[in-house]
């Protein structure tokens, strides 16, 4: 048993070392690092302001009151910030290709995607992450929740699945960069757009769009569906409370798709030649 654990630790060691070196490099420039963190705090606060201003004018939006909306905001931003921190840089692939970095990755004994993921760590996202965490704590403490082990389990499951879903989106975006020229802005529409959609009550969208955000790009599983379940809200025909528990499944499917996009991308790179 101890051998198994040792083996896993050994297998992950290269990635730990790579990430640690990135973190170290980023923290070296203390002043600009702090500025960047404050910047992402600002972004988080601006996103929050949007929710807050709306509820300054109405009491209920899409079947959610302010506390519920805050929970949706918190969960979506938390998952996105985590994913962004670890794999948000995948759409920078063209830059890596131009610098010949990708070829350097190919001659190292590690999978290409894993190397690309660990080639950068956007520590500054921790600013937006903090805003999301604070919002989460406030929402969970002020909301009327019947706490139980199931609830805690659901919350943790949601965060993990949500991060997985967004990571899969970033991976798909990365894979598409092999095909597109300067395609980062195009894929941003779906990664950042997906986050924007996840931040809302799904009830504001018409049914066809809801089906898209639930079954095609499954951002509804990141925050809205879990919120319905956690707060014991009635939900509706497209948001039954039990659907929230399918978040891991959504995450897995998203990853299958993201992985496929990535495969196509690398095949294209090796076939067409950088």
């Amino acid at each position: 048993m101890a051998d198994r654990r040792l083996d896993l630790a050994l297998r992950l060691r290269p990635y730990r070392v790579l990430l640690a070196s990135r973190a170290h490099a980023q923290m070296q420039y203390r002043a600009s690092f702090v500025t960047d963190i404050l910047g992402t705090v600002g972004v988080g606060l601006a996103e929050f302001a949007e929710v807050w201003v709306i509820f300054h004018n109405v009491d209920v939006l899409g079947g959610l009151d302010f506390t519920a909306a805050l929970l949706v905001f918190a969960l979506s931003n938390l998952a996105f910030s985590l994913a962004d921190m670890f794999v948000g840089h995948l759409d920078q692939l063209p830059r890596y290709i131009r610098a010949g970095q990708v070829d350097a990755f190919y001659v190292r004994p590690l999978p290409l995607l894993a190397q690309l993921m660990t080639s950068d760590l956007s520590l500054r996202r921790v600013g937006r992450l903090s805003v999301a965490l604070v919002a989460l704590v406030i929402a969970l403490t002020t909301a009327d929740i019947s706490w139980s082990a199931t609830t805690v389990c659901l919350i943790l499951l949601t965060i993990v699945s949500g991060t997985a879903i967004f990571s899969a989106l970033f991976t798909a975006a990365g894979g598409l960069q092999f095909f597109l020229v300067d395609g980062a802005e195009f894929t941003n529409a779906f990664t950042y757009g997906g986050q924007y959609a996840a931040q809302q009550s799904q009830q504001v969208f018409p049914d066809p769009l809801r089906i898209f955000w639930t079954f095609v790009i499954p951002t509804a599983f990141v925050a809205y569906l879990p919120t319905v379940a956690i707060l014991d809200l009635p939900g509706d025909h497209l948001a039954p409370p039990w659907l929230a528990w399918c978040a891991p499944l959504a995450g897995a499917l998203a990853w299958a798709f993201g992985g496929l996009c990535w495969r196509f991308g690398t095949r294209h790179y090796q076939g067409a030649g950088g």
């Binding site: 201003v53 195009f186 529409a189 924007y196």
Partner: protein, 264 residues
């Protein structure tokens, strides 16, 4: 004056080669526009018939004109000037016959032009196809709206220009540019109409140049501001144009003096 127009055309051409970028921008506009439109519509439905003077079709117009003008008005700023200050290339600009501020303004207007045509108009058309959008109620509104857009571009440029010039004195202006971007994005009326803000925030916004960059032209084009209100709106924009361009000139001269003292 002729040089000015040549530079406008050059800016136009430079950015028109970025066709793929324009297409990508269209996609972004569409996704965010659609989501935001539904949010605002749901909010208005929840509140009754209107919020802050915006009914459903006006709110939709707000969203899509906002997306349309997002690329046209340079809200996020540009790095060109501050980079040139940092490398010292700005000295070359001072030697040219046309005032640097006007030269960069010309380029920016060109860029705004191509963005309006390539990204802006399609965004509005898309919005109109998908939603029930409120059009400018009269020819006066159309004309005033057009003028307002041009003024908005200039206000945004002028403000960014001053921020960029701070590079003459500060080594790291990243913090300031970030602050400008975030505050600006919030207060200009991009995410939500300024009239929806709580009183205190609305006051802060109104005292800043940011609403003149987006909110004012949108309000005219959405038909929320009509008649005498248009005149006031344009007057406010003109004030900021004058103030910020003037400030830009002052700062530019100060920067030039500093450059000469330091020896480039």
């Amino acid at each position: 004056m002729k040089t000015f127009w040549l530079l406008v055309k050059a800016g136009f051409r430079r950015h028109s080669t970025y066709r793929l970028a324009l297409l990508a921008g269209m996609t972004t506009n569409s996704v965010f526009g659609i989501i935001r439109a539904y949010i605002l519509l749901a909010a208005i439905a929840s509140a009754g018939a209107s919020i802050g003077g915006y009914d459903a079709s006006m709110a939709v117009a707000f969203v899509w004109w906002g997306q349309a003008l997002l690329g046209t008005v340079n809200l996020w700023g540009f790095a060109e000037v501050k980079d040139r200050v940092r490398t010292g290339d700005i000295a070359v600009d001072f030697l040219r016959p046309l005032d640097p501020q006007l030269a960069y303004l010309a380029g920016d207007l060109g860029r705004a032009g191509i963005n309006l045509i390539g990204r802006g108009i399609p965004a509005v058309i898309l919005g109109a196809l998908l939603f029930d959008i409120a059009w400018p109620p009269s020819g006066v509104s159309w004309a005033a709206g057009a003028i307002s857009v041009v003024l908005a571009v200039v206000v945004a440029f002028a403000g960014n220009f001053v921020i960029n010039l701070l590079a003459f004195w500060l080594v790291e202006i990243r913090g300031i540019t970030l602050l400008w971007m975030i505050t600006g994005g919030l207060l200009c009326g991009l995410y939500l109409p300024v009239p929806w803000f709580p009183d205190w925030l609305r006051t802060i916004a109104t005292w800043s140049p940011f609403p003149s960059m987006l909110q004012q032209p949108i309000d005219i084009l959405a038909g929320r501001v009509v008649g005498a209100g248009i005149a006031t709106s344009l007057a406010i924009q003109l004030f900021w144009v004058a103030a910020l361009l003037g400030l830009g000139q002052v700062v530019l001269r100060a920067g030039r003096r500093r450059l000469e003292v330091q020896g480039g």
